[in-house]
């Protein structure tokens, strides 16, 4: 079954984010108040490990399961969309303490009010699609 591997990756992702407490609203608050190293440790060690893995993949020319070389798609050039979109995202992230991954994971932990946040996030994405041509990118 070709989707099974993605299901397993998802399970591990959900477990790591709950057990590391990265899904906790309190941890996000603490991060933005610079009151603990915890979240910086998670993100920092993820970025360093990720960078090393990508360097190793490049050096040994590792292939994907589709037999293409492993590479990360490049983000479009630009500045306004990243700083403005990023800031709007940050406002929401700090307010409800959940970014898109944790939103789904928290539903699994039994926080069903998170479905309201997910519905609002889908609406927000839809509104971006509507306004896209009028926004600076």
């Amino acid at each position: 079954m070709k989707y099974l591997k993605f299901f397993i990756v998802g399970i591990i992702f959900g477990m790591v984010l709950v057990k590391s407490e990265a899904v906790s609203w309190y941890r996000i608050y603490e991060m933005f108040r610079f009151q603990s190293f915890h979240m910086y440790g998670i993100i920092g060690s993820a970025v360093i490990t990720g960078a090393l893995l990508l360097i190793i993949a490049k050096k040994f020319n590792l292939k994907t399961t589709e037999n293409t070389s492993i590479n990360v798609p490049l983000k479009d050039r630009g500045f306004a969309r990243y700083i403005l979109g990023g800031s709007l995202f940050g406002l929401g992230w700090a307010l409800c303490g959940a970014c898109p991954g944790p939103m789904y994971i928290l539903v699994g932990t039994g926080v069903f009010t998170m479905l309201i946040v997910i519905a609002a996030a889908i609406l927000g994405t839809y509104c971006y699609g509507l306004l896209r041509a009028k926004l600076p990118h």
């Binding site: 299901f7 998802g10 399970i11 959900g14 057990k19 970025v47 990360v72 992230w93 898109p100």
Partner: protein
């Protein structure tokens, strides 16, 4: 088993998240959770009205399966691997949250003051979740990624746009926590 029930330290969790990103790249995909929000719009038929949602969402099914797995992972972590102790937040965080009016800080993953049905029953409580969710959904697509796509994948691959986006995440987050929170709570 007992060790798995304890909170996982950052130096275990962070590298595991990087490994998840890398495994998805190895499968020929990318690590991006907010893309699913766009997919949900497309499934709902938004592509008929807005071209941004007019794409073959079926090619994104694998990512929806990741989401389904993540929900199950959350369930497993909260049941089989549940840790009954409160989150070990810093004393300063507990103190400043108490001052804002939050009690039993860290007893649950999320504060009942915001996420209990009772809290959502008030207009203010409901507005907080809707506005927060809306900003996340709008902002992430505008910025072309969220924490997984920019902070983890983008920074790991040393991309400038992702650094700018992460700086944006912090501008917004710091404004919310330091300026707007005292007005809201």
């Amino acid at each position: 088993m007992e060790i798995l029930q304890q909170p996982w330290p950052w130096y275990v969790s962070g590298p595991l998240i990087a490994l998840i990103m890398f495994v998805l790249l190895y499968f020929g995909k990318t690590f991006g959770m907010s893309s699913n929000l766009r997919t949900f719009c497309a499934i709902g038929g938004a592509g008929k009205k807005v071209s941004f949602f007019d794409f073959d969402w079926k090619a994104q099914r694998w990512n929806l399966v990741v989401v389904l797995g993540a929900v199950c992972g959350g369930l497993i972590a909260e049941t089989v691997l549940d840790n009954p102790n409160a989150i070990a937040l810093s004393d300063s965080a507990v103190k400043s949250l108490n001052e804002l009016g939050f009690d039993n800080v860290g007893a649950n993953l999320l504060p009942p003051e915001l996420f209990s049905w009772q809290a959502v029953g008030s207009a203010k409580g409901l507005a907080i979740l809707i506005v927060g969710g809306f900003l996340v959904g709008f902002g992430t697509r505008y910025a072309g990624g969220c924490t997984s796509g920019h902070a983890i994948t983008g920074l790991s691959s040393l991309q400038w746009p992702s650094l700018v986006a992460v700086i944006g995440f912090f501008i917004g987050g710091l404004i919310m926590i330091h300026i707007l929170y005292p007005l809201i709570f």
